[in-house]
């Protein structure tokens, strides 16, 4: 027995099956976490190696290059980029999408093991970092403090960071801006010399004194006691009393040659919140944990944590990404509900019967809710992609049910009982319902196969829509006939309301049908004219293509900005603090939209991984700005960003580099950037090319924040040792260099323990003895024989300039000139810049390549175009199989031309660009648009089989199929309207897609209703003529 037969026969089973699906769906919905994007599996690994004290060039030579050479052989590697900065080497490995990152991580680890022996002894073991959206901090907390400032790190660590880290799902909590305690032993070089001591000796003595040593156990009588020496310093002052040597028969104490300074790290990062000194706490989630849930928990804990803090320490929120997620999801849910409402209204308007409307609209919630089961089963989240899949599908899931219901109604009107009509009516259309679903699946299923970044985003969309389509078809073939058999009546009695309301509607619809029939008669009579007009419109729209710019992703307004500012290199941190505070004050007054403004400056300590991954230094200021919600302000985030850029340019000349980036921390949805990569080994040549590029790009309208990635040359002092002289004194270079390092950077002597915490004890020259070149020159180094030699006797201190960061990509040195694309389509700037680059005089050995969003865009567009071709072929195959003809599908496919015309026309009119989102819209159109053609051609050929003439078949068929075509088109269009006009958070992302679908569908439906019947006429006539000729030939032969 068929599906619909048993469904009609067993209504209780059918109902309960669907009730079960709905219950499971709702249960799944309940457990679904909320997130912004689908979990984007990371394709990036970072290898970080610290080598304290080394300059950029040293790091490049000794750390980065050996590592790069080995890592380059890891399979599936796309790009290898590196940054060699003072103290640290960061290598980024970018892999092809879709590879198993765990396997790759193991590969990388193996390679690192191989090379670790080749690294300098002082370099720390390379650390591997995995990057994914999970790494994006979910909450940034600001901390304001006054008196507690010196002890802030410990206070925050104990009272805030540790409790927060215990919240389930929180990955890591790091504190920046609060300096850590450190104990300095500041020695006086003159006294050391007088007593014949060295920094190294003092360091090792402190290490030897600060010890707890177990002495074993021994027996006294019948008891066993353990023996122990507790020599660790109880107090940092204890250290002053250790004996470091003797002179003239008297003890020399540490206090005689040094002072103990129990304070904070010397060079640290400082954070200011709303102008006040404080700290920043960064909360990251565990991989796979739900950000909204965690942020709720964290926010709930804050008041309790606040109570435990000293009264001057105030916690606040700088950024809460879950806020954005919640708002975006809420606005999308609203969109889905509006779409549902519109579809119900359209169905009711066309059918005029509430029972019929109910039967059809019930398929919407069922198909939508069933898709939640898929989401929960595959561990996905409720995110932008899955929700917009719902929004897209609402208009399409009703189509099958409409077709079934219509045919069942016809049967009933002919005299069948509802029960019989339901079975036989469904039976007649089952095949075509399945075929039309297949065409849609042919469009959406390939979306699950896209690779790259876009693939990650649209895999879920493809699956969701495919699943919803299948469910809706199953629904249309079982639930719909069952409901028809129960709810529809043979005799329809209409109430007063119906007569009053629907008589004019029906009259209007009849007039619409007749008008279309008249137009169709005209079209069929003037085939050439129609052909020329339609093709003319199509060709004309192609010219608009030039007027529609292209970009990667639309800019998203999530109310978050990041500003990074750079003073000339070598500026003291005080200058940076001053400039930043002036700017912050000005902006707070000027832009009331700013809710929170926080900034950080200074050098990050090497053990704060989060801070040291981003650029930092005494001359660098990084600012986080949080604006009010987009609904609560008039100015868009891009407008404010533009004004801010102008402020910096006009009134803050001290900033050498300034970058205002929109879109907070998420990679997608920010303003697009164009990166011009300049490859070349020679610093001078690449630098001058980069300068030329910068000047050139600045002149092109629409560019902002043109930045050269390579920082300025840093002045530094270098000690050039004379190896012969060193050898003469019995020294070698590394002994001499290490001695230098121990005196200036400090020697880590031991750890001071207190309350379970460990603090570094560092021995170094007191600050006042390391302020001039003479101080360096006078440093005394002892050789193995205990004889002291001054630096100036074995070497020379010279000033040189070195590039502070050496960037490499694919093992070549590189400089990137990047620009933000502001208010104009990216393609415009690319065109203008390409023309200019042609004219540039580029030195030999230097090459320029375009990367950044443009590269991503090109990759994605290529992927999507391949996909479009694949989809067109698949759809053709499905249609050809259904019609058993090569011609009909080709005729139907012509409606695609008008769909693309429509997309270009509406993009041009609305000022949107062609981006990934609008491309996806256009691809979806392939399936939606051919559906209209299928309905039309199917009925026309049915008419012909019934014996009508070609002309009558076309006109009659067109007239009777007009309503279903318009109805299904309207449900899809109106389902998209809320998306296209949405103003909520995140709406920027989906607006181009909704707009493209609406434009393409409207335009192509109108033209399809005229062009396709006309083409059918032409081909059918040809067929008939051919038949006649064959017949005539046969007759002639017989004669």
């Amino acid at each position: 027995m068929s599906l619909y037969g048993s469904a009609v026969k067993r209504p209780i089973m059918t109902t309960l099956c669907f009730v079960a699906v709905v219950i499971m769906g709702l249960f799944s919905l309940n457990t679904l976490p909320i997130d912004l994007y689908p979990d984007i599996e990371t394709n990036t690994l970072m290898v970080m190696t610290t080598y304290t004290g080394a300059s950029a060039a040293d790091i490049e030579q000794n750390v980065t290059r050996p590592l790069e050479n080995v890592l380059n052989s890891v399979s599936d590697l796309k790009h290898i980029t590196s940054k060699s900065r003072e103290n640290i080497s960061v290598i980024t490995l970018e892999f092809e999408y879709g590879e198993d990152i765990d396997v790759l991580t193991n590969d990388v680890r193996d390679k690192l093991d191989m090379v670790s022996s080749m690294l300098p002894d002082d370099a720390e073991t390379p650390i591997i970092f995995k990057f994914s959206t999970d790494m994006i901090p979910i909450i940034l907390l600001s901390v304001k403090a006054d008196e507690s400032m010196p002890g802030l790190y410990k206070i925050l660590d104990d009272a805030v960071a540790n409790p927060l880290a215990r919240v389930s799902g929180v990955g890591s909590v790091s504190i920046s801006g609060a300096p850590k305690r450190e104990i300095h032993v500041y020695v006086d070089p003159a006294r050391l010399e007088a007593y014949g001591l060295s920094v190294e000796q003092i360091g090792s003595l402190i290490g030897a004194e600060n010890r707890n040593i177990p002495g074993g156990s021994f027996d006294i009588g019948s008891d066993t006691y353990s023996l122990r020496v507790q020599g660790e310093f109880k107090n940092s002052e204890d250290m002053a009393n250790i004996v470091v040597g003797s002179s003239g028969g008297r003890n020399v104490y540490l206090r005689d040659v040094a002072r103990i300074d129990d304070s904070l790290e010397e060079r640290t990062q400082e954070t200011f919140n709303d102008g006040e000194r404080g700290a920043m706490i960064v909360v990251q989630k565990q991989s796979g944990a739900n950000s909204v849930e965690i942020s709720n928990k964290v926010l709930k804990m804050l008041p309790t944590l606040q109570k435990r803090l000293p009264s001057d320490v105030q916690l606040g929120i700088i950024a809460d990404t879950s806020d954005n997620i919640r708002n975006t999801i809420a606005s999308l849910v609203e969109t889905v509900l509006y779409a549902l409402l519109f579809v119900v209204i359209v169905v009711f308007f066309f059918l005029g019967r509430w029972r019929a409307t109910l039967i059809i609209t019930i398929t919407i919630p069922i198909s939508l809710i069933a898709s939640f089961i898929y989401l929960a089963a595959t561990g996905n989240t409720l995110n932008i992609v899955s929700l917009s899949a719902l929004s897209i599908s609402i208009g399409m899931v009703v189509d099958d049910a409409i077709v079934v219901l219509e045919n069942v109604t016809t049967h009933i009107e002919r005299g069948s009982d509802p029960k019989q009509a339901a079975v036989h009516g469904t039976n007649e259309v089952a095949v075509s319902v399945v075929a039309s679903t297949l065409t849609l699946i042919a469009v959406f299923f390939p979306l699950t196969l896209v690779t790259g970044m876009t693939g990650v985003l649209f895999r879920q969309l493809g699956w969701m829509v495919t699943i919803m389509m299948i469910i809706s078809t199953v629904c249309a073939l079982s639930l719909t006939p069952m409901l028809c058999s129960l709810l529809l009546r043979r005799q329809n009695s209409h109430g007063k309301f119906y007569t009053l309301f629907f008589t004019p509607i029906n009259r209007g619809l009849d007039a619409f049908d007749n008008g279309y029939a008249r137009l169709l008669t005209f079209v069929v009579g003037h085939k050439m004219l129609t052909f020329i007009v339609c093709i003319g419109i199509f060709v004309g729209s192609l010219f608009l293509m030039k007027g529609v710019g292209t970009e990667f992703f639309p800019t998203n307004d999530d109310g978050r900005m990041r500003v990074s500012l750079e003073l000339p290199i070598g500026s003291r941190v005080e200058t940076a603090k001053d400039a930043a505070s002036r700017l912050a004050r000005e902006w707070r007054e000027k832009y009331p939209e700013i809710m929170v403004l926080n900034y950080t400056t200074g050098t990050a300590s090497s053990d704060n991984t989060f801070a040291s991954l981003s650029d930092n230094g005494p001359h660098i200021i990084s600012m986080n700005v949080r604006l009010t919600d987009p609904g609560d302000r008039d100015r868009k985030i891009t407008e404010i960003a533009e004004l801010m850029r102008r402020d910096i340019k006009e009134r803050y000349p001290e900033f050498k580099k300034a970058q205002v980036s929109v879109g907070g921390m998420s990679g997608m949805g920010g303003q697009a950037t164009l990166d011009y990569e300049i490859y070349g080994y020679d610093f001078a040549e690449t630098d001058s090319t980069a300068q030329l590029m910068k000047k050139m790009l600045e002149k092109i309208p629409g560019t902002a924040d043109v930045i050269i990635s390579r920082a300025d040359y840093q002045p530094e002092y270098q000690v050039d040792f004379d190896r012969e002289k060193l050898a003469m004194y019995g020294l070698n270079l590394s002994t001499a260099a290490n001695a230098l390092r121990n005196r200036i950077n400090g020697q880590l002597a031991s750890q001071f323990r207190e309350d379970g915490e460990e603090y570094d004890i560092k021995v170094m020259y007191a600050p006042e003895y390391r302020t001039s070149i003479e101080d360096i020159e006078n440093i005394l180094i002892y050789n193995a024989a205990g004889k002291g030699v001054r630096i100036k006797d074995v070497g020379e201190v010279v000033e040189r300039f070195t590039p502070p960061t050496i960037e490499r990509k694919d093992r070549e040195r590189i400089v990137t000139v990047s620009t933000v694309v502001q208010d104009v389509p990216m393609s415009q700037i690319v065109e203008a810049a390409s023309a200019e680059i042609e004219k540039l005089d580029i030195p030999q050995g230097v090459s320029i390549q375009l990367a950044g969003s443009y590269e991503d865009q090109q990759d994605s567009f290529k992927d999507l175009l391949t996909l479009a071709v694949l989809i067109v072929i698949l759809v053709y195959i499905v249609m050809a199989a259904q019609f058993e003809s090569y011609t009909y599908p080709a005729i139907i496919m012509t409606s695609l031309l008008f769909a693309f015309s429509g997309v270009f026309i509406i993009l041009w009119l609305s000022g949107h660009t062609l981006n990934v989102m609008s491309m996806i819209g256009a691809i979806m159109l392939i399936g939606i648009v051919v559906k209209n053609g299928i309905v039309l051609i199917d009925y026309i050929s049915l008419n012909r089989e019934r014996g009508m003439s070609i002309r009558r078949s076309v006109i009659d068929g067109g007239r009777s199929r007009l309503r279903p075509v318009v109805m299904t088109t309207l449900t899809t269009i109106l389902g998209m309207v809320p998306m296209a006009v949405g103003t909520g958070q995140g709406a920027e992302m989906w607006r181009p897609m909704g707009t493209a679908v609406i434009g393409g569908l409207t335009f192509s439906t109108i033209l399809t209703l005229l062009f396709v019947p006309m083409l059918y006429c032409v081909f059918a006539h040809q067929g008939v003529k051919r038949q006649r000729k064959a017949h005539a030939r046969e007759l002639a032969k017989n004669k």
Partner: protein, 97 residues
């Protein structure tokens, strides 16, 4: 004994079986999914793309006295739903076992 051959749109099936029951005609033979076309008007029942509807046929052998009643009821059914199509033909049974 008379044979009544009834050809009709398959939507009628339940009604006709029920009618036979009411008319005390127990025995019948039926064929599902049969194709055909009326002599005068009405849609063909071909089960094809152009004419998707299908017919049913029933052959019943009844006492002579019951024929009139059965035909009467069939006519009423046909009048009630003229668009579906229902025809009946009666002939003699010569022998049976």
């Amino acid at each position: 004994m008379k044979t009544i051959f009834i050809a009709f749109d398959q939507a009628h099936y339940d009604h006709i079986v029920e009618m036979l029951e009411r008319s005390n005609c127990r025995g019948f033979t039926s064929w599902q999914d049969v194709r055909g076309r009326g002599s005068v008007d009405g849609e063909p029942h071909y089960g094809s793309h152009a004419w998707p509807s299908e017919s049913c046929a029933i052959l019943t052998v009844v006492e002579d006295s019951r024929v009139a009643g059965v035909l009467e009821r069939l006519r009423a059914l046909d009048m009630e739903r003229p668009k579906l199509g229902l025809r009946a033909f009666v002939w003699n049974v010569e022998q049976s076992i």
